[in-house]
C-alpha cells in the first residue's frame, strides 16, 4: 500500500520534471548569458532586478512561454525614458514547485530528500 503511493508520487515527480524541462532549459540559457555575456557590458538596466534576472524569475514562476512574454514586456519597458526602480516579476498564485538557489525549478517533493 505504502509502496504504491510512494511509486505514484515518484511518477508524479518524474512527470513534473519533464513538464518543467522547457523552463529549466530557458533558465540554464539565461544563467549562461548572465555569466558569460552580460558582464561584458556591465550594469545597464534601469531596474532592479535586471532584465535578465527578471526573465529568470518570471520563467521559473510562470513557465517558458508566459515567462518569456513577461520578460519581453519588461525589456520593452527598459528604455532611457523609463524611471526605473524596483520591479519584481509577478509571483504565481499557486506555485507548486521549489526553486533551487541557482534558479532551477524542481518538483516540490525533491526538497525533503
Amino acid at each position: 500500500m505504502t509502496g504504491v503511493t510512494a511509486n505514484q508520487s515518484q511518477d508524479l515527480a518524474v512527470g513534473q520534471s519533464i513538464l518543467l524541462l522547457p523552463r529549466n532549459a530557458a533558465v540554464a540559457a539565461l544563467i549562461a548569458y548572465r555569466t558569460a555575456i552580460s558582464p561584458l557590458y556591465g550594469e545597464v538596466c534601469r531596474y532592479y532586478p535586471s532584465c535578465s534576472a527578471y526573465a529568470m524569475h518570471a520563467i521559473a514562476q510562470h513557465g517558458a512561454v508566459i515567462g518569456s512574454g513577461l520578460a519581453l514586456r519588461r525589456i520593452a519597458r527598459c528604455h532611457p525614458w523609463a524611471a526605473g526602480g524596483v520591479d519584481d516579476a509577478p509571483l504565481k498564485k499557486n506555485f507548486r514547485y521549489t526553486v533551487t538557489p541557482r534558479g532551477f525549478v524542481v518538483p516540490a517533493s525533491h526538497r525533503k530528500g
Binding site: 545597464v44 527598459c78 523609463a82 526605473g84 526602480g85
Partner: protein, 383 residues
C-alpha cells in the same frame, strides 16, 4: 529562421542604404568605386551614423549622472547602512534601496538595455549583408547586384576580401590564404584589446569602493580577464567586414567612455577623486562642490518624529535655557528622543541615544530612525 529574416529585413535595408550612401559619396569625392578602401570607409561611415544616432541616449545618461551629485548624500547613507555587509541578502537589499532612490529622485544613471538591443540587430544585419554578397546574392534594398558583388569582393589593403573570415581563409579551396589570416588575427587582437581597455576603464575607475568590495564584482572582474579570450576564438568566425565594423564601434565606445569618465565620473569613485584633484590643481574647484556631501547631510538631520506638544508654561521654562546645558535632561528641545514617549516604538535606538545626547550623537539618532529598518542603522549611534 524566416521570422528572423523578416525582423532583420528593415534593418538590412537601412544598413544597405547607409553603406551605399557613403559609398556613392566617397565615389563622388573621387575615390575609385570598386576599390576596397572605399567600402572600408563606407563601413566606418556606417559606424559613425549608428553611433551618432545613439548619442542622445548617452547625453541623457550623462545628464542623469550629473544629477547623481544631488543625491550623493542619500546614496552614501544607503552605502553606510550596508557597510561591511557582504552577504547576498544585504547586497540585494542595498541594490533595491539604491534603485528606489534613483526612481524617487529621477536620477537613474544607468543607460537601459535599449542601446544594446538596437546595436545587436544592426550587427547581425551587416553580417547577413556581407554573407549575401559573398554568395553573389543582391541585397534587399539599395544594394543592387553589381554593388553587392563589388562590396563582397572588395578587400582590405588590397588582398584581404571583406567577406572572408579567418576560418574561411584557412579552408580556402586553393590552400590557406596566409595574408588574410594575418589580417584577421590582427583585427581580432585589436578588437579584443579595445573591448578590454573599455571595460578596464569602467572597472578600475568608475566603480565605487563599496561595489568593488562585493563578491559579485570580484567574480565579474575575473570574467573580465577571461572573456577577451573567448572573444578571440569566436571572432575568427566573423567576416573581416563585420569585424571591422565592430572594431571601429569599439574604438568609438572607448573614446566616448574615456571622455565621460574623465569629465562626468560617478560620484564616490576613483575617477571622481581624480577629477577633483585636477580641478583643485587648476584652482577651479568651487568649495561648495567638495563640501556638498557634508552640508547636505546636515540638512537631513531633521527629527522625523512628531514633536511632543508642549504646554505654554513648559515651553517658557525650556526656552531660555542653553540647549547644550539642557541636553542631558532634554525635556522639550529634543522631543523625539525623550525616552518616555517613543521608547516603545524603537527600543533598540532610544535608550542608547540618551547617553551620548550631549555629544555629537544628538542629531544622528533621529536620522537613523528615519530609515525604515532602524535596527540595522543602530550601529551608527551605538558607537
Amino acid at each position: 529562421m524566416d521570422l528572423l529574416s523578416l525582423i532583420l529585413w528593415p534593418l538590412k535595408w537601412a544598413v544597405e542604404l547607409i553603406l551605399v550612401g557613403w559609398h556613392s559619396l566617397f565615389s563622388a569625392l573621387g575615390l575609385p568605386p570598386e576599390e576596397g578602401l572605399t567600402w572600408v570607409l563606407s563601413i566606418v561611415g556606417l559606424v559613425l551614423v549608428v553611433r551618432a544616432l545613439l548619442i542622445p541616449l548617452f547625453v541623457k545618461q550623462i545628464k542623469n549622472q550629473r544629477r547623481m551629485m544631488e543625491v550623493a548624500p542619500q546614496l552614501k547613507k544607503i552605502q553606510d547602512k550596508y557597510k561591511g555587509k557582504k552577504d547576498q541578502f544585504s547586497r540585494e537589499a542595498m541594490s533595491r534601496e539604491t534603485m528606489e532612490l534613483y526612481k524617487k529622485t529621477g536620477t537613474n544613471p544607468l543607460g537601459s538595455c535599449l542601446p544594446l538591443l538596437v546595436q545587436m540587430p544592426i550587427f547581425f544585419a551587416l553580417f547577413s549583408v556581407l554573407n549575401d554578397s559573398q554568395t553573389g546574392k543582391s541585397g534587399v534594398g539599395p544594394l543592387n547586384e553589381e554593388l553587392s558583388e563589388q562590396f563582397g569582393s572588395s578587400s582590405l589593403f588590397g588582398f584581404a576580401p571583406l567577406h572572408m573570415s579567418f576560418s574561411s581563409a584557412m579552408n580556402a579551396p586553393g590552400g590557406p590564404e596566409v595574408g588574410v589570416m594575418i589580417v584577421a588575427a590582427i583585427m581580432v587582437v585589436l578588437m579584443t584589446a579595445s573591448q578590454f581597455i573599455t571595460q578596464l576603464q569602467i572597472v578600475s575607475k568608475n566603480i565605487s569602493d563599496e561595489t568593488k568590495a562585493s563578491p559579485m564584482f570580484k567574480q565579474q572582474r575575473i570574467l573580465l580577464y577571461i572573456l577577451p579570450f573567448v572573444f578571440l576564438f569566436s571572432g575568427f568566425a566573423f567576416p573581416l567586414g563585420v569585424m571591422f565594423y565592430w572594431l571601429v564601434s569599439n574604438i568609438w565606445t572607448m573614446v566616448q567612455q574615456f571622455i565621460i569618465i574623465r569629465n562626468m565620473p560617478m560620484p564616490g569613485t576613483e575617477a571622481a577623486k581624480e577629477r577633483e584633484e585636477r580641478l583643485a590643481r587648476k584652482g577651479k574647484l568651487k568649495p561648495a562642490e567638495s563640501a556638498a556631501g557634508d552640508t547636505l547631510v546636515v540638512e537631513e538631520k531633521k527629527p522625523s518624529q512628531r514633536q511632543q506638544p508642549v504646554g505654554k508654561n513648559r515651553a517658557k521654562k525650556a526656552a531660555p535655557k542653553n540647549p547644550a546645558v539642557a541636553a542631558p535632561k532634554n525635556p522639550a528641545t529634543t522631543g523625539p528622543k525623550n525616552p518616555s514617549a517613543p521608547a516603545s516604538k524603537n527600543p533598540a535606538t532610544a535608550p542608547k541615544s540618551t547617553a551620548p545626547a550631549a555629544t555629537s550623537g544628538t542629531p544622528q539618532a533621529p536620522a537613523a530612525k528615519a530609515q525604515p529598518e532602524a535596527g540595522t542603522a543602530s550601529k551608527n549611534d551605538g558607537k
